[in-house]
Amino acid sequence: MMSVAGLLGTVGVSGWQWIVGNRGEVWSRFLEHVELTVIAVVVGFVISFPLAVWAHRNRRVYAPITWVAGLLYTIPSLALFVILIPITGLTVLTAEIGLISYTLLILIRNIVAGLSAVPEDVKEAARGMGYTNGELLWHVELPLALPAIMAGIRIATVSTIGLVTVAALIGKGGLGQFILEGLQTFFQAEILTGTVLSFAFALAADGLLLLAERALTPWARGRTTRVRPFATPRKAGFPVT
């Protein structure tokens, strides 16, 4: 095992030298990675939010919406990126269509789960005070659903950061571009740079969004340490929290 550590150490040192020597490109690839991720999550949220509110109000549409989102989510990322090449070419649009598709299921599920967890008597009280449906949504349901929504945004962001690296094959991989180039030219320092930086970026984003989540929803502190399962059973249908 010493030799493993030693060899990776050697690669690590040359990786660091490589980063220093190419800091301009590393920085621009990092910015590209951030940009691709932010666009995907923001657009994904803009699409998911109305769908989730609709599904929350009308439970019959929840199953079909999550079925379609689930189908998109199941298609392997590399496959989805390249299937789009004949239509949209090697463009940012191709990458974004794939990335956005993967955020939908995560975001819709979490937003609906958050909204449907609002206690019925709280909503009843608001209605009794004369709140309209719109006011109820904005002033009562959304604030109470915020922890679940933020958790959804966090998971969507972190998984998007990972998927961007796969988009390297169509030339829009951010830090993942280093991994692919390194694999093609057999340059270990570059592979290591790409993997370590993309992993570090994912962990940092996860941590930052967790802090934001806690700052925005101080009342939910203590509940956030609960372990969320990766997937809930299919048969359960409508999410129960």
């Binding site: 030799s3 493993v4 060899l7 990776l8 690669v11 689930g70 189908l71 199941t74 298609i75 392997p76 990322s77 590399l78 496959a79 989805l80 390249v82 299937i83 090449i85 004949p86 998971i155 972190v158 998984s159 950061i161 990972g162 998927l163 690296t165 796969v166 390297a168 094959l169 993942g176 991994i179 692919l180 390194g182 694999l183 270990q188 592979i191 290591l192 790409g194 993997t195 370590v196 993309s198 992993f199 994912a202 962990l203 984003a205 996860d206 340490t225 372990v227 969320r228 399962p229 990766f230 997937a231 809930t232 059973p233 299919r234 048969k235 359960a236 249908g237 999410p239 129960v240």
Partner: protein, 233 residues
């Protein structure tokens, strides 16, 4: 749009259904790599999850593994595994070794976390009642907690299997086999029809995996009086 007609032709061309680069061989490689990784992960993760969940301790461990598991970029973990193999056992570096290792690492968190959450979420009163009826600890685990946690454990297995089938596509980028070969080879020879055909095959395989595991999951769900699964925690 006429690419898609060509894709249909490519997929139905008999010459693509035989030989070492034929569709049956590539599908088999893909399934083999995925099955080995998921089986190994299940053998390791289910017992650990059951034990930690039964003791109702070690939540920190489960949270950490779940969080790290969720944030590891799959392409990055595959490349790291490739680098390690390249430096330690170069002759195994292309394909099977690093791919199975990386897929195994990706498959563990969903199975482990879901098993832990499923067992740990069983009503403590029920566990007390079972103990009061004279059940031993292994009986409490196997006859009460495991059946109640089964739907969540199966959901974890499904998530792992689908992730692994999807990620096994990337094996082609480090010289491995499987259906990703068509995508990567087609890409380097600018053969869009081959690329899209490979992508269609992978997508179909992933959806079939999802449906298969969803069916197993339904079979594993105990039928309660209301006919529905116990609510997830």
């Amino acid at each position: 749009m006429h690419t898609f007609g060509q894709v249909f032709q490519w997929l139905t061309d008999p010459s693509h259904w035989s030989g070492s680069d034929g569709i049956p061989v590539r599908v088999l490689q893909h399934v083999e790599i995925s099955a080995v990784a998921v089986a190994a992960a299940a053998i390791l993760a289910i017992p650990i999850g059951l034990l930690v969940g039964h003791r109702r301790r070690g939540a920190f461990l489960a949270v950490s593994i779940a969080n790290v598991g969720r944030s590891v970029p799959s392409f990055a973990i595959l490349s790291i595994a490739f680098l390690v193999f390249l430096n330690v056992a170069p002759s195994f570096a292309f394909g099977f070794g690093p791919t199975v290792t990386a897929l195994f690492l990706l498959a563990v968190p969903p199975i482990l976390t879901n098993t832990y959450v499923g067992v740990q979420a069983v009503d403590p009163d029920m566990v007390e009642a079972a103990r009061g009826m004279g059940m031993t600890e292994p009986q409490v685990l196997l006859r009460l907690e495991v059946p109640l946690a089964a739907p969540l454990i199966m959901a974890g297995l499904r998530t792992s299997a689908v992730t692994v089938v999807a990620t096994a596509t990337l094996a082609a980028l480090i010289g491995g086999g499987g259906l990703g070969r068509y995508i990567v080879d087609g890409f380097h020879t600018a053969d869009t029809v081959k690329v899209v055909s490979g992508a269609v095959l992978v997508a179909v395989l992933a959806v079939v995996t999802e449906l298969l595991f969803a069916a197993i999951e339904r079979a594993a769900t105990p039928r309660t009086s209301s006919g529905s699964a116990p609510p997830p925690s």
